[in-house]
């Protein structure tokens, strides 16, 4: 369990609940939190606080939570909590005008609008708050979320110091961390890559290079001193081996030099390296240069910032304005097209490996952005192990965390350089979502898992996504000589993230054992289209090669992640949740029948355990589930309701209103 004082929390909602090591920085009282969807602008009064971990709003009527609601509470981040890293933009409203807030303020706004990276939008009215408090809270929030920060100031470290010794690792649920030589050897063995590739420890203690992990895998004949030559640049590093022996490799480009002499040296070095991997037993190598002819990070950044604006809605009117042109706006953001291009590239590489039996060498400047993305996607499509939850977490650990993806910079956790902020990992998750959405039975996890994973990017109690490289993490953690509570379970933030009940929803109820290996295909096809068409014209083997559809109509918006906070987009009593309860019921039934059959078989009378029925008796859920229950204030679906004036005389009105109550109670 992640935090210890959880019981107290549920009992006393109104008091601020602090995580171990968390400190209150500033607060303001009588803040009005608008209920966003309502253009009448009524809201809830409460206290707005800022700690070194989060911004939290403590509503006065918070005690009115019913039991159902607490069941779906996130253990770390409450409904009205925003972790500091989750804050995207802060706006102030001065005389009905909305302005971005940053730096030192001369004037303080009457309204504060916070856009979050998980696409929530909060609006706080400060009109009834004391001026001093307004100053303190606004400048506090702006400083702690917008000002550049030092790595050492991350809440992660204070949390790690304070919350020790509460890690329990379940050996069965073990995500491979790839921080030991053994893990790499195991992976080599699993993929049968150990004939041609070897795990090396030449970078132990980060002697050679701080970019690379301490252990990694290279082609067996490659001399270790080659690795040292250009600090790991220009070295083909093994990612994964296919059942037919072909492998996926990645290489970071050599530094660009002007000097002819050095260029000459680089050239002969590369020639040597290529010679090693071009001769048998290695397959023919195809080089994919991801730095040119493919996406640029700039493109991804621009697309996402356009795309997310479609979902960051300040008020209903704004929503309706964009709604009319929804599809063309969506298209013009080209986020979906970027997803398509990533999937397409991954299919192309899959085709090379699967059908043409070639090795593919991914080339990128640092081999830590698109390399991670493409190589993970290829493995997801080709290796059913990666489609289990543990396998997927191991994959992220291998390709992204150990692969040196700069989470710190790409998420802009330290607010040091906005230009570096590129949602590459989010793009990856969105690509995975497309696969999960198209082939749900092939995955052990659901879209809810992916959404939760994407949220955990901004929760600084998991160390996984808060460093630029394993070296950075190790050095920072070691200097402070911490026993890290999260090292074992860190990339599985799902454990204990929700209460047990909702865990069902995160595990894919249908993805059972995925054990079969890919059937080898004899057909050799020479181009992408043929490969793609032929795969799609055959029945899908969920345990084998899995390709996504990439035609126009097939790439979709990850509605759960992007639409969940928009009240207008709620479907009361509908959407997937509605089928989920039925599904759970049937799975329970299947299980109990299977038990019965087993029981008869062993002629044992084991005590019958009643399967828990989770959703059956709960109130009507909406498509927000499990991230929140209904937005309680949205009683009005179409237009705002308040009085019933101009509709008959008062008596009549009262009578009718009574009728409505009765109708509701029926």
């Amino acid at each position: 369990e992640i935090h210890t004082n959880e019981k107290e929390v549920t009992e006393k909602e109104v008091t601020l609940h602090l995580l171990p090591g968390e400190q209150l920085l500033c607060e303001a009282s009588t803040v009005l939190k608008y209920v966003q969807e309502d253009s009448c602008q009524h809201g809830v009064y409460g206290r707005l606080v800022c700690t070194d971990f989060k911004i939290a709003f403590l509503g006065d009527d918070e005690s009115a939570l019913d039991n159902d609601e607490t069941q779906f509470k996130n253990k770390v981040v409450g409904e009205n909590d925003i972790t500091l890293h989750c804050v995207d933009q802060i706006y102030g409203v001065f005389d009905e005008k909305k302005k971005t807030l940053f730096g030192q303020l001369k004037k303080y706004p009457e309204k504060l609008i916070i856009h979050c990276k998980d696409l929530r939008v909060f609006q706080f009215c400060l009109r009834y708050t004391k001026e001093e408090e307004v100053k303190r809270i606004v400048s506090g929030i702006i400083h702690h979320t917008q000002a550049p920060k030092l790595l050492k100031r991350l809440f992660l470290f204070s949390y790690a110091t304070a919350a020790q010794n509460n890690t329990v690792t379940d050996p069965k649920n073990h995500t491979i961390m790839f921080d030991t030589l053994k893990d790499w050897c195991w992976e080599l063995e699993r993929t049968k890559g150990n004939m041609k590739y070897k795990a090396v420890s030449v970078n132990e203690g980060y002697k050679v290079c701080e970019r690379l992990p301490a252990y990694f895998v290279v082609p067996t004949p490659l001399p270790e001193e080659n690795v040292q030559r250009f600090q790991g640049h220009g070295i083909p590093i093994w990612c994964w081996s296919c059942h037919n022996g072909s492998a996926l490799l990645k290489m970071s480009a050599l530094p660009k030099e002007q000097d002819d002499g050095i260029l000459q040296i680089q050239k002969s070095f590369l020639d040597g390296v290529y010679k090693t991997i071009h001769r048998p037993p290695y397959e023919i190598v195809k080089t994919e240069d991801l730095s040119s002819n493919f996406l640029s990070l700039q493109e991804i950044q621009t697309a996402y910032s356009k795309f997310k604006q479609l979902f960051l809605i300040d008020n209903s009117t704004e929503f309706w304005d964009t709604d009319i042109k929804w599809f063309s706006l969506l298209e013009s953001s080209s986020w979906l097209d970027i997803i398509r291009r990533c999937l397409k590239k991954a299919i192309e590489i899959t085709e090379c490996m699967e059908a043409q039996n070639m090795n593919v060498l991914l080339l990128e400047e640092n081999a830590s952005d698109l390399c991670c993305l493409i190589s993970s996607l290829v493995q997801l499509m080709m290796d059913p192990h990666c489609r289990t939850r543990i396998g997927f977490q191991s994959l992220i650990q291998k390709e992204w965390v150990m692969g040196g993806h700069c989470f710190l910079d790409r998420c802009n956790h330290l607010r040091q350089n906005d230009k570096e902020e590129v949602p590459v990992f989010l793009l990856f998750l969105d690509c995975v979502w497309q696969l999960v959405h198209q082939h749900p039975p092939a995955f052990e996890f659901t879209e809810t898992y992916l959404t939760v994973l994407s949220d955990s990017l901004y929760i600084p109690i998991f160390s996984t996504f808060f460093f630029n490289s394993p070296h950075q993490k190790d050095t920072n953690m070691h200097q402070r000589q911490l026993s890290l509570p999260l090292t074992q379970s860190k990339s599985s933030p799902k454990r204990g993230f929700f209460r047990e009940e909702t865990d069902h929803l995160i595990k894919n109820l249908l993805g059972k054992r995925i054990s079969k290996l890919i059937n080898s295909s004899d057909e050799l096809q020479d181009n992408f289209r043929e490969f793609y068409d032929s795969w799609h014209s055959k029945p899908t083997d969920y345990h084998g090669l899995l390709l996504p559809h990439i035609e126009g109509p097939e790439i979709k918006v990850w509605a759960q992640r992007y639409l969940r906070w928009i009240p207008e987009a709620q479907i009361l009593g509908g959407s997937r949740v509605a089928t989920m309860s039925k599904l759970l019921e049937m799975i329970e039934e299947v299980q109990s029948l299977q038990e019965k059959i087993d029981e008869r078989h062993h002629s044992q009378q084991a005590p019958q355990a009643e399967a828990p029925c989770l959703l059956r008796n709960s109130a009507r859920l909406s498509s927000l589930f499990p991230f929140a229950l209904l937005q309680r204030h949205s009683s009005k679906p179409v237009l705002p309701t308040s009085g019933w004036k101009a509709l008959g005389d008062e008596d009549d009105l009262a009578k009718r209103e009574d009728e409505f109550v009765d109708l509701g109670d029926v």
């Binding site: 599809f327 014209s537 559809h549 599904l583 078989h601 309701t641």
Partner: protein, 709 residues
Amino acid sequence: MWWGGRGQSFNIAPQKEEPEMGSVQESRMPEPRSHQPSSCLASRCLPGEQILAWAPGVRKGLEPELSGTLICTNFRVTFQPCGWQQNEDTPLSSEYDFALVNIGRLEAVSGLSRVQLLRPGSLLKFIPEEIMIHGRDFRLLRVGFEAGGLEPQAFQVTMAIVQARAQSNPAQQYSGITLSKAGQASGSRKPPVPLMETAEDWETERKKQAARGWRVSTVNERFDVATSLPRYFWVPNRILDSEVRRAFGHFHQGRGPRLSWHHPGGSDLLRCGGFYTASDPNKEDIRAVESMLQAGHSDVVLVDTMDELPSLADVQLAHLRLRALCLPDSSVAEDKWLSALEGTRWLDYIRACLRKASDISVLVTSRVRSVILQERGDRDLNGLLSSLVQLLSAPEARTLFGFQSLVQREWVAAGHPFLTRLGGTGASEEAPVFLLFLDCVWQLLQQFPADFEFSEFFLLALHDSVRVPDTLTFLRNTPWERGKQSGQLNSYTQVYTPGYSQPPAGNSFNLQLSVWDWDLRYSNAQILQFQNPGYDPEHCPDSWLPRPQPSFMIPGPPSSVWLFSRGALTPLNQLCPWRDSPSLLAVSSRWLPRPAISSESLADQEWGLPSHWGACPLPPGLLLPGYLGPQIRFWRRCYLRGRPEVQMGLSAPTISGLQDELSHLQELLRKWTPRISPEVHSKKRDPHTILNPTEIVGILKGRAEGDLG
């Protein structure tokens, strides 16, 4: 495997049966190239059907390819896979049957580059290697012809199709169709869907809705009030038939106000045509009209149905664009797909319909009142909205039976001009309003998967049935024409159809057949898939108890009269336009933007659900659909069926898979230890031999690893 299904419409895996078929075929027909259609082909013809030409061919585009015969008759083009008659239990094949009127585009292909578009009357310029039939229902049939001496046959069959299309008459019904097994005629109609052709049907339905202030009027029994109206309809108790007759005369085409649905909370949903502005009613008439509209309520809301909804021409244009977009060779680049889709405006129209229906549902639910849907013709959008409102508000309408009754009542009996709207008469008034409605229902099904008893496959089947001329349901424009044809009106025909020849007597089966006789077109396995396995009736309590209506039928003027238009209520001075000035309805307000929502301007026009429905956010049974851009989805399974690269069976219907598993387990358990009674009623499966325990465990393991995966 169940969820690998790649049938065009259904989730029934063809792979299972086909190997058997193939082997049967080989043993039975060693000479597949015989030039005489085998006798079994001829025996499969419908009465009056003549085979014009046929050729052996291979169904292409889907794996695995199927060999069979392409047949062109004077009714239809059909592809019969070899050995198909073995499993045949329907007179029409749903998968490969194309009624001549359904053929939207015909292409002959030779080699890689020669493609000829064949219009009725075209001359084929080469020997086709392949023929592509694009259905107007978005289906696609690709048949490749065999080479080696059979080219003339390929040529013949293609030309025969071209000619038969030119000669086909869209209003023509397959004559003499009977159910294959006469004894089980109504097998698929249990309980039979009321066709709303008798007074009893109307009375039963009225009682079911507990509409106590209403009665069945027989004033139109001879279709002399309006031919487009059903023979019976519901009018307020207090209104005499003579008053009804007089009042209806002042409405467009005689379509006066009638009850569509009585809300259990007390409200009434009415529909009527536009006021006939040229008429000059006297005081009595105006009073009759007003009290019919008022229906005893003091609060009356007139809904201008056409406001904010597309015109018929809009619908037609959007549908044409949609079809062009969904053609396999549509030239839209993948990254431009979304704006192209937006450009068709089809989804926009769906969204407008859902929004309006949702608004009206709120109006009907929020207080006891009379809500009148008024459309000039009262035969298109009124039916659409009234059906949608009932689907949103009444759980009964969301059952399979309820939905069929609803369509029968609000579309067929209410006189939606199916033949004209579906392009049968070639008139300019073609507009697939009904298909727009089906898409709206599909959207609801997507949004509320546990609230509907029927499945997407049912909607697809209905979608495809509108172009199969096997029953009269969609082949006529009015109840009068339909009745005339089926010979019901013997005693009245001398008045209305001079010179019309009576259909041959003894054809009594024909009378009863309607589109709801699914076993005409679909096999039992397919009909089973009409059920939504995710339907959870617990969500739909029948707890909308009829409530006493103290204020019902109080004479006197209504205390408030509103016009609902562009999302807002505007007070009206009077219900009828004749007294002083023309009604507001005469002014067309369509497609004006909604006024910006500012709290001030709406101060006296607010409406909506009261904020206190107790613990539930909505009254039980009411669904409010999402109609935002991202929530309106594209019906892939219907519209993209013709695109070979976008195949079916993408997202696994997990619930039906589980259900299968469940019934399998229950069956096993039952067989093994007969004393244990299954908890849940399980579907009948083919009996297996009794297995011993080890085998069962083996099967379970195998299934767990293989099937569920």
